[in-house]
Each structure stands twice: as structure tokens, then as C-alpha cells.
């Protein structure tokens, strides 16, 4: 559902719901107030009065949120107005766009674009991780028959043959590949074999990491999709509805705070923290870029597959080359780890922090939710 349609739904669908709920709650609490006054029950009278005040607060909150949604879009446009490339496509936030199918110029809705960009980045990274896993194990895609082994596979075959081959004459061993670990031409094979085992172990660790990254990426994708489709359309209006009643006030506050923080704060923070984000220029004197390709000349992180491959290859050569290049690849390793895991996690944590305080403001109890979120994340 596009955001302009969402706002139209607010005017048509949500307001009558809130009006009916507010009238119902007012009737209930007014009855309680009358009962309390009749039987001279000060506690109940105080409770009824506070609940009537909450109903008024709910109505005012609805009016405020209608105004807030529109303002939030303008704030988001000003904060994240700019460009980011993803999978060869330029995502522009803010400004105006032309819809050729309808022949109209409409205002770019940055938050919808922001969610599409986040999903694009996650899909791209997930694809890179998959390609990296495939590239680590050539046997997965190799279908050539055994005798035509070539290159590294043929080398490995000879190494295994030399290491495990043994020959003897009249019971006297004359060659055993496993005797030569300390030196000699058979020892070289043994040493080579040990490095192969090292490479296999390294690949195993990299695969384990890659699978964990895949779980994280897919989880983020599912969460982002759910936030985009349901938080503004379902959780926000139902949160306001639930907040109108005493027993469901905490849940209503939870839904409202989650909707506001995860739908508005999370994508803005994600875009702002993205290293590939290029803010749009505000100066009228700066010339427009001459071609689309020049807009894409921004610093971006190395792709997952490139860096993991370089890490794996440099680790093999560390003993010969020295530690300087190994440390350079560790630096690359930490950078893509930052992009894949830390960056989204920081954005989510900031959003949940906002949610926690908004929930407290709206009368909810954030303790249980905060513990749940901490455990899950």
C-alpha cells in the first residue's frame, strides 16, 4: 500500500474506528464515575476520571499522529534526501519523480524507497554470500570426470597419492609417504597435505560464518518486509485502539511505539549510517552531474565474496609474505562484518531505544519487551 493511500485510509477508515472506541470507552467510564459518586467511592472516582482523561488523550493522539505522519515524511525527506546505488539501480530519496505510466509528476515518498533499498541491499548481500559458498567448493558445480583433473585438483590428487602410497620389497618397506613429514621429497607432500587440511578447516570456519550471516540476512529481510507492510497499516491504528482501554493500554503503547520507531526511525537511521549514501547537494551553483554513472562514484564497502576470497588467499600466503598483508585482510574482514551485521544492528538498536522511551511515555511497561528484544537480537 503506498503511503498516500495509507493517509487516505487514515481519514476514511481509522477515524471512525477511533471515534466509536472513544465513545464506547467514554460511556463505560462515565458510568463508572456515576457509580463511584453515587456510592461515595473516592478510589473508583479517581480511576474513572483518569480513564476519561486517557480517552481524551487518545483522541488528541490520533489527531497528532495524522499530523505527525505527514511531517515525518518531510523530515525524512530532508534527512535522507540523496542517492544510493544498489544492484546497479539508483535509489533517489526526496524530490519529485515522473510516472510514465500515468504521465504525472509526483512527490517521491522517501520511506517507501528506503525500505525497498534496504531489501535490495539485503538481497544483494544474500546473493553474494551464496555465490561465495558456491565458489569455496568447486566440486559443487564441477561435473567433469575424474581423469581430466587439472590445476589444483590434479596437484591435490598427487599430494594424496604421495602421502598415502607405500611400497615394499620382500617385506622391507622402501617408501612410505607418511614417514617423510620431517623432510625430503615425501616430507614436502606431507607438509603440503597439512596445509590442505588447514585450508579445509579454514573453509569450514568460513562456511560456518557464511551460514550465520545468511541466517542474519534472511531474518532482517523478513523483519523489514513485515515492518513495511504491516506496521503503519495494522499496528499503529490497532495500537491507538487498544490504548483506549485500561487492560490493553500496555499493549497499545507497545504497538504505537514499535510502529513509530521501526517505520520512521529505523529506515532513516539505516540510510544515514550507510557508507554508500551520498546526500543531495543543496547549492544551486553546483552543476548537475553530466551522466548517471558519475553519481555512482561513491565509496562503498567491498563485496562479501571479494573480501572473503582475499582473506582466504592471503591467509595462505601469510607465512611467505609476512603479516602486513594478513593484517590488511583482517581490516577488510572487519569492514564487511561491520556492513553486514553491525550496521543493521546499530540501526535496529537505535530504533528500539526510541521505541522503549516512547512506550514509557505512552503508559506502557517496556521492561518485558526490552528483555525479549535483547534476547532475540
Amino acid at each position: 500500500m503506498a503511503l498516500p493511500d495509507m493517509l487516505a485510509s487514515w481519514e476514511v477508515g481509522y477515524v471512525p474506528i477511533i471515534a466509536v472506541v472513544s465513545l464506547t470507552a467514554t460511556a463505560i467510564y462515565a458510568t463508572l464515575l456515576g457509580f463511584a459518586k453515587a456510592f461515595n467511592m473516592p478510589n473508583l472516582e479517581r480511576f474513572a476520571k483518569s480513564e476519561l482523561a486517557q480517552v481524551i488523550a487518545t483522541v488528541l493522539m490520533t489527531a497528532f499522529l495524522l499530523f505527525f505522519v505527514g511531517s515525518a515524511l518531510e523530515v525524512a525527506s530532508s534527512l535522507i534526501g540523496g542517492n544510493i546505488y544498489c544492484a546497479g539501480e539508483l535509489y533517489t530519496f526526496g524530490g519529485y519523480e515522473f510516472d510514465p505510466s500515468e504521465g504525472i509528476v509526483y512527490e517521491n515518498q522517501p520511506l517507501n524507497k528506503a525500505f525497498e533499498l534496504i531489501k535490495c541491499k539485503l538481497r544483494t548481500r544474500g546473493k553474494e554470500v551464496g555465490e561465495f559458498i558456491d565458489s569455496m567448493f568447486p566440486q559443487l558445480t564441477q561435473t567433469s570426470p575424474l581423469p581430466s583433473l587439472s590445476g589444483r585438483a590434479a596437484e591435490l590428487y598427487m599430494i594424496y597419492f604421495l602421502y598415502y602410497f607405500s611400497a615394499s620389497v620382500l617385506g622391507i618397506p622402501i617408501y612410505n609417504g607418511q614417514f617423510g613429514l620431517g623432510g625430503g621429497w615425501a616430507g614436502a607432500a606431507g607438509g603440503e597435505l597439512l596445509s590442505v587440511y588447514g585450508l579445509v578447516e579454514q573453509s569450514r570456519l568460513l562456511l560456518m560464518f557464511a551460514v550465520n550471516v545468511l541466517v542474519a540476512i534472511n531474518s532482517q529481510y523478513a523483519l523489514v518486509l513485515y515492518i513495511q507492510k504491516t506496521f503503519l497499516a495494522i499496528f499503529l491504528p490497532l495500537g491507538i485502539l487498544l490504548r483506549s482501554f485500561y487492560f490493553t493500554r500496555s499493549i497499545g503503547a507497545l504497538f504505537i511505539s514499535l510502529a513509530l520507531s521501526l517505520y520512521f526511525v529505523y529506515p532513516v537511521v539505516y540510510i544515514l549510517l550507510d557508507p554508500g549514501f551520498a546526500p543531495s547537494s543543496t547549492s544551486e551553483e553546483e552543476p548537475a552531474p553530466s551522466s548517471v554513472s558519475s553519481l555512482g562514484c561513491v565509496n562503498t564497502m567491498n563485496s562479501f565474496a571479494t573480501v572473503m576470497s582475499s582473506f582466504a588467499s592471503v591467509q595462505q600466503q601469510t607465512a611467505a609474505v609476512g603479516e602486513s598483508e594478513g593484517q590488511a585482510s583482517i581490516s577488510d574482514y572487519s569492514r564487511f562484518y561491520l556492513e553486514l551485521l553491525i550496521h543493521p544492528l546499530v540501526s535496529l538498536s537505535i530504533s528500539l531505544l526510541v521505541a522503549r522511551y516512547v512506550m514509557h511515555l505512552l503508559g506502557g511497561d517496556p521492561y518485558a519487551f526490552a528483555r525479549f528484544a535483547a534476547k532475540v537480537i
Binding site: G126, V215, A222, F247, I251, F255, F372
Partner: protein
């Protein structure tokens, strides 16, 4: 759900008589204490009796509130909210309890499909990685001069995908078990809590010195009778956006083949594999063997290991994260409702368990 039909009968035949009995018993005790207080001139007893009268009226008020709440849950149509919020047009009537049950069952079915897809791929890669070949040392003579040669695990690289998919297999098993657990919790709480814990809580709350226990039981019952199904029904409203099968995955049923179909196909695949491996073209059997195994498993479904990983994680989100959030919300509401009755309840250990 049969709950709504059973509740009215239960209300008339069991709950109301129990409430009447408890109220009469409490009323008699209060009257005796008041008389005793007046008789011996003890003002504390009189004040206590008057407080208990007020509490008795409160309890009766809550008792009238509970059937109202249950009937509201049985008559509210979750589909109407769905039609308004998501601009859909559906005339089906789905009350809160039905919506909650639909969500957990849909999540369980979704997890089961994910489990089937992951298991299917896992089986293929297990077969491929376990396949091995033996090449005699003097291949032009076969193994006539002793059984010497080299053993090969030609498709051992598939072990990588096998170990990766094992993690996702565990995730989908957890998702399926959790969804079923939530279905059982929903069934248990909406019946046992409604027909046992709630009357027990009301009864204890009516009695003077059991009020704390009664308040806690009542708060717990109210949370799980109303709040927990309410949250699940809200997730049901948005379930179209969470129970999405990844577009690359084929129909889930294709992963669950009929047994007789498997036997016939296994025989045909085995025959073609043996023929391929026995081929006189050196090493050509390996390619044909792999192709034969893959053709057996993937002729009408696509090989999509990364899409099934995505499927598994989505199942985790739908079947574990959201229902657990509903459960924690219900427990947090218990604390909130208990505060209304003037009691502080510490459910932190239960929250940690969740």
C-alpha cells in the same frame, strides 16, 4: 472454536451457581463478623466487615465483566478489521479465538512446508556427499591384480551444503514445534483457564483471606483468555505478509512425494546410476551418476538451497518470534491487570523461560 458455544452453557450451569455459593458464603461470614464486632464492641471487626462488603461487590462486578469480555471476543469479527485496515473485501466471519487459532495453525503449516523443503534438499546432498567411487590402480585391467586403487568421494563438496542446511533444518524443526506448542497453549488456556482457573480465581477472590491468590489467578486467566488470543488475532490480520513462500520455491506438496511413487522412481534411478557407473568410459560414470541422482530428486521441483534457507528463517519469524511476542505480551498484561487489583506479581522467571 467450540469455546464460544460451550461458555454460555458453562456460565449458566457451573459458573453462576459457584459464584452464588461463594457470595453467599462470604456474605454469611461478613454478617457474622459484623454482628460479633457490634456485640463485643470491636470497631476493627466492623471496619473489616464493611471493607469486605465493598470487595464482594467488586468481585461481583468483575464477574459480570468476564462474560461480557468473552462474548465480545466471540462476536467481534477480525475480518472486518482486516477489511478496513488492508482494504480487502471478505465476508467471512472470524471471531478473535478463531483468528488466533487460524494464525498458529497457519504458522505450523508454513513451518511444516519449510521443513519439508529443507529436508528434501538435505536428503539430496546427503546422498550426493555419501556417494563414493573406487578406481582400480590399473584401470585398463580392472581389479584383476588385487583390490588396490583409490577411493573417491567425488561429491564430497556437497557436504558443505549439507552442514549448512542442517542448521536450517534445526531452525524449521524448532519453528514447527513452537507453533504446535502455541496451538496447545491456546487450546489449554482458552479452555482450562476459562473453565477452571477463572472460577477458581473468582472463588478465592470472594473469600476474605484468599484475595491475593484469587487476584493473581484472575489476572492470569483474564490475560490468557483475552489478551493472548487478541494478540494472535492481530498477527493473523497481517499474516499474508509473513506467511509468504519465497517465490523461487515450488509448491510445498511437491516435496512430499507419495511412497509408491518414491519406490518406483528409486528403482529407475538406481538402474540408471548402476548403468552409468558401469560405463566403460573412464570417469564418465561420475557425471552421469550425479545427473541421475539430481534428476531423481529435482525433475519437477527446482534445486533452490538458498531459497529454502530463506524459507526456514521466515518460518522462524512467523512461528517463533511473533507467537512468543504474543505470549510475553499476555504475561506482561498479567502484571498490569494484577496491579489493578492492588497486587504486585513477579513473573520475571516465567518471562525468562519464555
Amino acid at each position: 472454536m467450540m469455546l464460544c458455544e460451550q461458555f454460555n452453557d458453562f456460565l449458566l450451569t457451573s459458573l453462576l451457581p459457584l459464584i452464588a455459593t461463594a457470595s453467599m458464603a462470604t456474605g454469611i461470614i461478613i454478617a457474622l463478623v459484623l454482628l460479633l464486632g457490634r456485640a463485643i464492641g470491636n470497631s476493627r471487626l466492623s471496619v473489616w466487615a464493611k471493607d469486605e462488603v465493598v470487595q464482594l461487590f467488586f468481585s461481583l462486578a468483575f464477574i459480570s465483566f468476564v462474560p461480557l469480555l468473552v462474548n465480545l471476543s466471540c462476536t467481534l469479527n477480525a475480518n472486518d478489521f482486516r477489511n478496513i485496515l488492508l482494504e480487502e473485501t471478505s465476508s467471512e466471519v472470524v471471531n478473535l479465538y478463531d483468528a488466533a487459532e487460524l494464525y498458529v495453525l497457519s504458522a505450523a503449516r508454513y513451518s511444516h512446508e519449510a521443513l519439508a523443503a529443507v529436508r528434501y534438499h538435505l536428503e539430496v546432498y546427503a546422498v550426493l556427499s555419501a556417494s563414493s567411487g573406487f578406481e582400480c590402480a590399473f584401470s585398463f585391467l580392472g581389479c584383476l591384480f588385487g583390490y588396490t586403487g583409490d577411493s573417491f568421494s567425488l561429491f564430497g563438496g556437497y557436504g558443505a551444503l549439507q552442514s549448512a542446511l542442517s542448521l536450517f533444518f534445526n531452525l524449521t524443526v524448532i519453528s514447527l514445534m513452537t507453533a504446535l506448542l502455541h496451538y496447545f497453549i491456546l487450546s489449554l488456556t482458552s479452555k482450562a483457564f476459562l473453565f477452571f482457573l477463572l472460577p477458581l480465581g473468582l472463588f478465592f477472590r470472594s473469600l476474605p483471606y484468599m484475595r491475593i491468590l484469587g487476584s493473581v489467578l484472575f489476572a492470569l486467566a483474564l490475560s490468557f483468555i483475552f489478551i493472548y488470543p487478541l494478540l494472535l488475532s492481530i498477527f493473523w490480520i497481517g499474516s499474508d505478509f509473513v506467511l509468504l513462500v519465497p517465490s523461487e520455491i515450488g509448491e510445498g506438496d511437491a516435496y512430499l512425494r507419495a511412497e509408491e511413487d518414491m519406490v518406483g522412481r528409486a528403482g529407475a534411478a538406481a538402474a540408471s546410476s548402476v548403468a552409468a557407473l558401469a560405463s566403460l568410459v573412464p570417469g564418465a560414470g561420475t557425471e552421469l551418476a550425479q545427473a541421475a541422482i539430481k534428476a531423481f530428486y529435482f525433475d519437477d521441483v527446482d534445486e533452490r538451497p538458498y531459497a529454502v534457507m530463506d524459507f526456514a528463517v521466515r518460518a522462524l519469524f512467523a512461528a517463533v518470534i511473533l507467537p512468543t511476542l504474543a505470549l510475553i505480551g499476555a504475561l506482561a498484561s498479567t502484571v498490569y491487570i494484577a496491579k489493578f487489583f492492588g497486587q504486585q506479581v513477579d513473573l520475571s522467571r516465567l518471562m525468562q523461560l519464555m
